[in-house]
């Protein structure tokens, strides 16, 4: 069973409904408040063969958009439920048919839905429990106003699988590992990603494949805190990622560029 499904079932405590089978969606509660849980999981019967291994493809992108927009429309101007993206995505499918049918637009639809929900006041929280690779993570997780991750060896955040990066850059996997020691942004482990300052919390001491009840309780508490902190934040943008002490140290150029732009902007 995929980690996405394990954590979705444990946290949502409800049976997912709707199509396609690769997109799990159910409403539950966190810390007494309403939450909609979403996950993308492998489906060996998926209609588009290149997205059967848990990849975020055409059907998955549009389905995430549909389920997120549905929650935003139902909640209207009232109490806006939290949206929890359980992230375990190996990437996007590589296929001719996928490109023909506008794969970039399918991913954009999920980005759009999450970002629009966040701007409307839904707390959007991503919980990375496994792989968070590339376009798939951009579409399912990166628009959250709080990102959480399990500090666990199987948790990886990167822009391409290591195998593919080695082929594209014509470097060996060993060479890539050497570079990663110098340049944390190219590393795969979640501790290196945490150094870039975009994580709200890195959750220690939780077994990712078979969490017990006390570990689940730990994660529920962290989720509840993240949702509450997002709800009480006066801003609904992503600026918090650059305000962290880690970002000041490891995203110095991102901050410097913004300072200069602001100085020169009005001429």
């Amino acid at each position: 069973m995929s980690r996405g499904r394990i954590w979705f079932e444990a946290l949502a405590g409800a049976t997912p409904d709707g199509e396609p089978a690769s997109v799990l969606c159910a409403d539950g509660t966190v810390g007494g408040g309403r939450a909609r849980f979403l996950a993308v999981v492998p489906d060996p019967e998926a209609r588009f063969p290149r997205a059967r291994g848990g990849e975020l493809g055409l059907e998955e992108g549009w389905a995430l958009a549909r389920r997120v927009r549905e929650a935003a429309a139902e909640d209207g101007d009232g109490d806006r439920r939290a949206l929890v993206a359980v992230v375990d995505v190996p990437g996007q499918p590589y296929g001719y048919r996928e490109e023909l049918l506008g794969l970039h637009l399918a991913l954009a639809s999920a980005v759009d839905a999450y970002a629009t929900a966040r701007l409307a006041g839904h707390p959007v929280v991503a919980l990375v429990v496994g792989q968070a690779i590339s376009g798939a993570f951009l579409a399912h997780g990166m628009q959250a106003n709080r990102i959480l991750a399990l500090a666990n060896p199987g948790v990886a955040v990167q822009v391409m699988s290591k195998r593919s990066t080695a082929r594209v850059t014509r470097r060996s996997v060993d060479e890539l590992d050497e570079i990663a020691e110098e340049v944390p942004a190219t590393a795969y482990d979640v501790a290196s990603f945490a150094r870039l300052g975009a994580l709200h919390r890195l959750i220690d001491g939780v077994e990712a494949d078979e969490p017990d009840e006390s570990e689940l309780e730990t994660v529920r508490e962290v989720l509840a805190e993240a949702i509450s902190s997002a709800r009480h934040d006066s801003s609904t943008d992503l600026s918090g990622r650059l305000a962290s002490p880690e970002a000041r140290q490891h995203r110095g150029a991102s901050l410097r560029v913004r300072e200069r732009l602001a100085e020169e902007w009005s001429g």
């Binding site: 549909r66 970039h104 399918a106």
Partner: protein, 283 residues
């Protein structure tokens, strides 16, 4: 005998800086963080790559039809237009300032000139974070003013920046331009030559080229590779204002489009064009 230099009228022959300048009203081009400030990527030299003094992105303020505008032009000739920390922050930061001004009642017309393979692999997760911030800014900005993307070629627009194009209010393309998530070479490498022969130009352009994208409603305006034509199309897009519904919000249309596909049957560009054309592209 001297032959007078013919002024360049093909947009794709121009550098990113020239593209931004020709797009804006004459005499209004003003570059922010210009090349002489030498704000380079700090991550390339340690990996044996020579950095560029503008990191491959030009931020140009100026006017479009007398209205304030900001043009963000990616230089496809530098590292394939890959988005790193500095180049990504230039785009995201400028869009964030445009948003701030729009919220204060001073709208700015944002234009993205997209010639990019997506995230620059040497800067990996820094590029990923920057692109997520670009996406966030486009979605926020879109509710105040249209955000116009141009994919003229010759690099095309791929990866996380293709998602950014998908979020734009209006996308202008030439026949030469290509727009897709995964580039043809990456597909061939990852899925094999049987999936796609990336040297087969006809097959590639029939799927992701400008003519196909506009015919199937995945992009909005097809123009000639010509400076005046592109400048005109961008102005027309702003005059038209934001679309009633953005493409990336058309969930019902695409749910229906995908539902009617037989995923076990082979599919090619002309077949898809016949299927999708009659729907008027949804806009």
């Amino acid at each position: 005998m001297t032959v007078p230099a013919r002024p360049k009228t093909r947009f794709t022959e121009l550098s990113a800086r020239e593209r931004a300048a020709t797009l804006l009203d004459p005499g209004t081009f003003r570059e922010l963080i210009g090349p002489f400030e030498r704000l380079e990527s700090p991550h390339l030299e340690p990996q044996g790559v020579v950095p560029a003094c503008d990191d491959g992105v030009v931020v140009a303020c100026g006017d479009l039809d007398g209205e304030r505008a900001v043009v963000l032009a990616v230089e496809g000739l530098f590292q394939g237009g890959g988005i790193g920390e500095v180049s990504g922050a230039k785009i995201a930061g400028a869009l964030e300032l445009a948003l701030r001004d729009a919220e204060r009642g001073h709208p700015v017309r944002p234009v993205l000139l997209l010639e990019t393979g997506g995230i620059r692999l040497q800067e990996a997760n820094l590029g990923l974070l920057a692109i997520a911030e670009i996406h966030a800014a486009i979605v926020a900005l879109r509710s105040h003013a249209p955000v116009v993307g141009v994919v003229a070629g010759t690099v095309g627009c791929f990866g996380g920046m293709a998602i950014a194009a998908g979020l734009c209010s209006h996308v202008v393309m030439t026949r030469e331009g290509r727009l897709g998530l995964n580039g043809p070479q990456v597909i061939e490498q990852e899925a094999g030559v049987a999936e796609l022969d990336s040297d087969d130009r006809r097959l590639v352009w029939e799927a992701i080229g400008g003519e196909q994208r506009v015919a199937t409603g995945v992009a909005d305006t097809l123009v000639a590779d010509d400076v005046a034509a592109i400048a005109g199309a961008v102005r027309t897009a702003f005059e038209a204002g934001p679309p009633a519904e953005h493409l990336s919000a058309q969930v019902e249309l695409y749910d229906a489009r995908l539902a009617e596909m037989d995923a076990s049957e082979p599919l090619d560009g002309p077949t898809l064009r016949a299927l999708w054309r009659d729907e008027g592209g949804g806009r």
